[in-house]
């Protein structure tokens, strides 16, 4: 008799949780983020501890967990998720951003032409409150390597801050949409564009750049949040003074110590056109007061033209957010021959290693290795493949350097077959999530290999400095191009995985409801039990998903889950010609339990047909 009652009680609780308004401001951080039985023991600092129902930056928190403490939607009721409302921006470029929710407002920033919308969540159908059209220079469309994408806005101190494709950053008054400042950080005619989402730390807006395929030199610039004035700029290549390597710097390994490595690890002045652009994610540890920034592939993509390690391309920096001063730097792929980059997100967690709690940085690199570094020092704690790879035989524990397979090195005018992973890696920029309840990392990854022939290239400003001539194929014999994995960052092992036929290239959302959400490039949006990988809910959307799901609490106290369907970016370049690959789109879908929201859903109809004055039609009895 006890069992049915318990089930009934749980069901009732679920219904109540789904329908009853909740206090949006009440802190649900605890026990929502407490490790559950069977967890790895890894936790995180969720600073700046925003209100639990809000989503103020792309990764939600400084640590880049993409974990929400909301739990109204959980494993018990997620199967009842239905669309509550939607919003289309009509733009055909790849959608890679998450919307933000602050107070009663949702903020959406589109791909080029980077239009910003504020939607009023307190009104039925979330009507547009204001629109901002920046009209960036269209020249940028033809300079962006991988589609005219944007990875979303960030909110801080009453401002909505985001980047424009043509190399600008802008801050709007979040209430009115009126620009507070707009700053140019580079010239698109030279090949520089910006696609990344800024991070705000204190009064510093941190903005990187794109153009590693065009010979653009990587840079991270800090702008004053109130004025847009430049506070500091650190380059990814060149002399120490440019990189901001000085007295604070401590090399994690001896090969990363030495004067002006950002210049001397290149032939001649090649570092000036050397890439190492900063188009990924920035995370921040308020205790160590360090930001973590990944850098892109070196330019040109042909390694024969740039002998040396090519520092600091395909690397990660730990910098002081106030000065830009580098505390340590680590290069994942020295002399990157395959376009592997180092831009992927760095998730900051704390976890037990050998009986001791360590401050860690988890980074699933494009090169296929899952790195867990000590984020105080940059030294490797764990480095194991999270996907099949063959370009390296492992990581040398003494140096942290990959042991490269000479058979898979890129060659000029000679085809090298079946290099795994392909140029976009085992996982690209699409960010993973971390749940403190399981202690696992969740990521959309790829299973793609390439046949590669290099051609030497000449540098012509504003044109691709590329030279990679490649064809791709699915790895192994599965013909599964994508996979969703749960990764134990403390041991470097998979907990479970879900293979997918099409590429999986969305961000991941983890919630205190023990759910993880991800999308596929053929348009499936799925909710999975974070503990065991069981798919609990799937919804096919109008286009493929290369954006980032998020969740929020509406003004009505209900939990919503939102994601944009609008495939594009590198996914369309790699898989666009494959049979069944969906067309483009740009629609934001917002889901709730039973599809209920103010003004919509069952029983929510507030208007009905009435007899118009002067109507002459009489219905027969």
């Amino acid at each position: 008799m006890i069992r049915p009652h318990r089930t009934l009680g749980l069901a009732l609780l679920a219904v109540l949780a789904a329908c009853g308004p909740a206090d949006r401001k009440a802190s649900s951080l605890s026990p929502a983020n407490r490790p559950q039985p069977g967890a790895t023991g890894a936790t995180a600092n969720f600073a700046p501890n925003d209100p639990p129902g809000e989503w103020r930056r792309q990764a939600r928190d400084y640590a880049n967990t993409r974990f929400s403490p909301l739990e109204q939607i959980g494993v018990g009721n997620v199967a009842r998720l239905k669309m509550a409302w939607s919003f289309s921006d009509g733009i055909p470029y790849g959608h890679e951003a998450a919307p933000l929710v602050v107070g009663d407002t949702m903020f959406v920033v589109t791909p080029y032409p980077n239009v910003a919308y504020a939607l009023d969540l307190s009104k039925p159908g979330a009507p547009i409150k204001w629109t901002y059209q920046p009209h960036p220079d269209p020249i940028a469309v033809g300079k962006a390597c991988c589609d005219a994408v944007n990875r979303g806005p960030t909110y801080a101190d009453g401002k909505l801050v985001f980047t424009l494709l043509d190399g600008e950053a802008v801050a709007l008054d979040a209430n009115t949409g009126k620009p507070a400042w707009r700053v140019r950080l580079g010239q698109p005619a030279s090949g520089m564009t910006i696609t990344m989402s800024p991070l705000v730390v204190g009064n510093a807006v941190l903005v990187g750049n794109s153009g590693g395929e065009m010979g653009v030199r990587g840079q991270l610039t800090a702008l004053d949040l109130s004025t847009g004035k430049e506070l500091w700029r650190g380059y990814s290549t060149g002399p120490d003074a440019d990189v901001k390597i000085g007295a604070d710097y401590h090399a994690p390994y001896p090969w990363l110590a030495g004067k002006d490595l950002g210049a001397s690890s290149w032939p001649g002045d090649a570092w000036q056109r050397g890439g190492g652009t900063v188009w990924g994610w920035i995370s921040y540890d308020p205790d160590l007061n360090l930001i973590y920034e990944g850098t892109s592939n070196p330019s040109p993509r042909v390694p024969a033209q740039r002998p040396g390690d090519n520092l600091w391309s395909s690397a990660v920096f730990a910098r002081d957010p106030k000065t830009g001063s580098v505390h340590w730097g680590f290069q994942f792929t020295p002399h990157d021959q395959w376009d592997y980059d180092g831009v992927n997100e760095n998730i900051l967690i704390d976890g037990p290693i050998g009986g001791q709690t360590r401050k860690l940085l988890v980074h699933l690199d494009r090169n296929g290795f899952g790195y867990t570094l000590d984020r105080s020092t940059g030294r490797i704690v764990v480095a194991k493949p999270f996907a099949p790879l063959n370009w390296a035989k492992g990581i040398d524990p003494a140096t942290g350097r990959p042991i490269v397979d000479p058979d898979k090195e890129a060659k000029v005018e000679e085809k090298v077959s079946n290099i795994c992973p392909t140029h976009i890696g085992s996982k690209d920029w699409q960010p993973a999530a971390f749940s403190p309840r399981t202690g696992l990392i969740y990521a959309d990854i790829f299973n793609i290999c390439m046949d590669l022939t290099d051609h030497k290239v000449g540098y012509i400003p504003g044109t691709p400095y590329d030279g990679m001539d490649l064809t791709t194929h699915a790895g192994g014999k599965t013909n599964k191009w994508g996979e969703f994995i749960a990764w134990n960052p403390l041991t470097g092992e998979r907990a479970w995985s879900i293979p997918e036929t099409f590429m999986t290239m969305s961000g991941v959302l983890a919630t205190a409801g023990d759910l993880v959400f991800y999308g596929t490039t053929d348009g499936w949006f799925r909710a999975v039990d974070a503990r065991n990988g069981k798919v609990l809910w799937s919804q096919k959307l109008s286009s493929g998903i290369t954006s980032q799901p998020m969740t929020y609490l509406g003004p009505d106290g209900r939990q919503y889950v939102a994601v944009v369907a609008g495939v594009g970016g590198v996914a369309s370049q790699v898989m666009g010609s494959k049979n069944g690959f969906p067309p483009r789109g740009g629609t934001l879908y917002v889901f709730s339990i039973d599809g209920v929201s103010p003004g919509s859903g069952p029983g929510m109809l507030t208007t009905q047909g009435s007899k118009a004055p002067g109507a002459v039609y009489n219905a027969p009895d």
Binding site: P138, G458, D466
Partner: protein, 183 residues
């Protein structure tokens, strides 16, 4: 005299630019001295968007002096690689960052003179103005190469209706990878 100097400088510049690329080896890319090129003034008088019903636009009356010349097409193809066109427009002009050039639709017109102007003057969505880097005869050879891809445009699309769309976002669907498979 001044025109001569400019022409010499442009040729030198192009030679330097070509020298930077390993794939630019081989025969000279300078055309036969006797070839008569269309006058600049004529090219710049081409109106954008000829009125409907106009029997033959001025653009359609300007012929490419190198059209169908196998040597010129080969040199144009070489330039297409050396000037990095290939990494924007894809192998055989199938599209990647920039739009497809293999006849699946032309945003700014597909007559030889319109193609010349697109290359010479650049276009707003990122196409550089190559008139500052390449002498007219080399641009006409690039046009000759693009004209030679015309046959490809008559092949049925393998990627569905998106291939015919002129938006770069959609031309990216085809991708360098798909294009290189077809190489």
């Amino acid at each position: 005299m001044r025109a001569m100097t400019l022409r010499l400088a442009l040729t030198l510049l192009a030679t330097v630019a070509l020298g930077a690329c390993s794939r630019s080896h081989g025969d000279s890319v300078t055309g036969p001295a006797a070839t008569q090129l269309p006058a600049d003034a004529t090219l710049h008088s081409i109106p954008m968007g000829a009125p409907p019903g106009e029997p033959v636009s001025i653009a359609g009356r300007i012929a490419n002096p190198f059209a169908g010349n196998a040597q010129a097409v080969a040199e144009g193809k070489q330039l297409f690689g050396a000037m990095n066109c290939v990494y924007c427009h894809g192998a055989q002009g199938s599209g990647l960052i920039g739009p497809a050039l293999n006849g699946s639709g032309w945003r700014y017109g597909g007559t030889p003179a319109e193609l010349f102007n697109s290359i010479h003057d650049g276009r707003p969505q990122g196409m550089p103005a190559w008139g500052a880097r390449l002498p007219p005869d080399q641009i006409w050879k690039l046009v000759a190469y693009l004209q030679s891809l015309g046959d490809a445009s008559n092949q049925p699309s393998t990627t569905g209706p998106q291939a015919a769309d002129q938006d770069p976002a959609d031309s990216a669907h085809q991708g360098l990878i798909a294009a290189q498979r077809a190489r």
